[in-house]
Symmetry: C4
Subunit: 210 residues, 4 copies
């Protein structure tokens, strides 16, 4: 039986589809951009959105299974997102990560361009930071690294892994002119992290205007 038809997989895939749909309604995944996944518990397998899907119309049929090294498992012939290797690099590094969400919001696109030279966005002083796993105080300083964009996914996922080997304690990362990757110990936790990060960017943007 196809893994995609297992009851427990369908349940979580539904949860992911619902999250993606909400994000799409907010304009966070325009033009078939963005990709989303969850890891199957205790398996080296990942359910991920297929490439080229219009997220306004996302449904279960847009999902597929890949292995942790990025190979297609099923359905035969399905094409995963080009950025699958970023997802699998994150799963390989973070044992506890069970969902990876990647969105293309205008603010994550432009603020990651603006701060690319600094290599990071630092955020401090917001209650909303407490939505990030393990953060209990608004006075903590949160660091989100920024990586230069590349069309070479192997290179991009290697830079990422190299960074994570030295700087483990992050909640999300930006690719410059491209968007945000975030993750969590569950789909709801990953959703919470994406929403908190986007909110923090919006606050940083507004503060720069007033």
């Amino acid at each position: 039986m196809s893994l995609l038809h297992h009851e427990s997989v369908i349940k979580r895939a539904d949860e992911l589809v619902q999250t993606v749909y909400l994000f799409s309604q907010r304009g966070w995944c325009p033009a078939t951009s963005s990709n989303f996944s969850f890891r199957i518990l205790n398996e080296d397998l990942v359910i991920i959105t297929q490439t080229g899907v219009d997220k306004d119309y996302i449904d279960l049929d847009n999902m597929m299974v890949v292995s942790l090294d990025g190979r297609v498992v099923e359905p035969e012939g399905a094409q995963p997102s080009a950025e699958t290797l970023i997802h699998t690099a994150l799963y390989k590094h973070f044992d506890k990560a069970h969902s990876v969400l990647h969105v293309h919001t205008p603010l994550s696109t432009v603020l990651s361009m603006k701060y690319l030279e600094k290599g990071e966005i630092r955020i401090k002083g917001y209650e909303m930071q407490k939505a990030l796993e393990g953060i209990t105080d608004h006075n903590s300083e949160i660091v989100f690294p920024i990586f230069p964009n590349s069309q070479d996914m192997t290179q991009l996922s290697n830079s990422l892994t190299e960074y994570l080997d030295k700087n483990d304690d992050i909640h999300g990362l930006f690719i410059a002119g491209h968007g945000l990757y975030s993750w969590g110990t569950s789909i709801p936790a990953a959703k919470r992290t994406v929403e908190a990060t986007e909110f923090l960017l919006e606050c940083e943007f507004l503060r720069s205007q007033i």
Copy 2:
């Protein structure tokens, strides 16, 4: 019988859930933030959202009962929002308050940071002010106090109570870098106050840009 199953409680809890859902769709409670309550008429009991709830999916099961001093009444083991003491402080001070709504909007977050040193936001000249209870003229000056954020809820609710003992005539308050608290003599009245306040912030922001 559980208080949460009383017909009259369910009716008002439904009204609150509907309000929270609308707010969530506007992006006012991202990432499981924000909390919402109403007081049971003539009782020292409050129905409040449990902690950690994704407001995009809010339903009646996310509610719980606490006493006016913040103790859990039911369901057993449920965890109320960390900010329950702010709600109960407001109910204790304002006899007529029957609903307290707390939202995390980007503008309430950043404008409360900007004006924290002044300790208040003053607003004048808008027709929308008349949506605030007791205000009948757009030329009245409305004062919203701003409190520094803190993770110590006892301290925060005490500062609040101390302020209210001297300055009774307010329609809402900000916690810096955190958000807006507002209240009303009913759930619709509290909804109206939150919407009016957020609108006034948006106008103040736009005026600073033109």
Copy 3:
């Protein structure tokens, strides 16, 4: 039989309710603000929203009938919007106006404050102007008058009438710090005019930022 139960009235009231609901979803009538009406064909009667209605929940029961001089016709005891006299002044002046829509958008609020001293907002060069009745060229100059806000509705409607007696050729008007009034030969025509005007304000705002 109540006028509100006539089939033809219900049909148009439904059309109005649907329009109001769409406007409310866009944030154009927060906090029970804004009011909306249509005139009954060949009668000196107007169907208008009752005061204090939350437009997120608007339905047919929120409507009432007033005469062209602003008296309540039915249902007995219903309270019309405080701004009923503005609606009736517009119907009395414009024979062809069959619907008047009044919204509280942030941009109409703040731009009417900014340009109050000039007494008008002039707009030119947009294709969207052609959505205004009788405008066929983007190079026409459109003038929207601005009136100072007042809590005295008789005075406000008199200023308005006085202005219209001299300047008939307008598509909408602003009350400073308050909002936009627009009208049309049908509910869809009035909806189109409101949307076009708000769009033109948004363009003017954006142009001031770039």
Copy 4:
């Protein structure tokens, strides 16, 4: 049998209606503006929205058939959008174009005014560019031409054709103070291009603010 009742036409018209509805919900076609079409495969016939349609209520009945030279085919007496000649000019030039979408977004309106003298908007450095057909790298430079607005559609479509005869490799075009035209090899491809272009404009706008 009416072409509009052919099963295959209905299927694609449904797809177009759904796209238009989504665009309308985002505020991209206010006040009955904007027009949308698809070409019937292997025929010199185009299905296009009738003039004056409120896109919040769009349905299949709002569609009509025109020939590639802009004549009404059916239903008898139906009035196509005034801009039909722009659509047909694009179909005549681009053999592979099967859908043309024209939206009136605030940003396409004002940025096309700002850059009219330059005659184009150039965009570079965004991952989102890859949503445009044939673009595989974020470092490509994308050029969108801008044409002065005109009420003379023959003249406007001639300028357009003249430009395209020399500069074939474009993904969309702006008419100053008016809006965006985009197209694709299918309705989803055209939707993707419109969304990507609007996203790129929003990024350019945000970058100008930070």
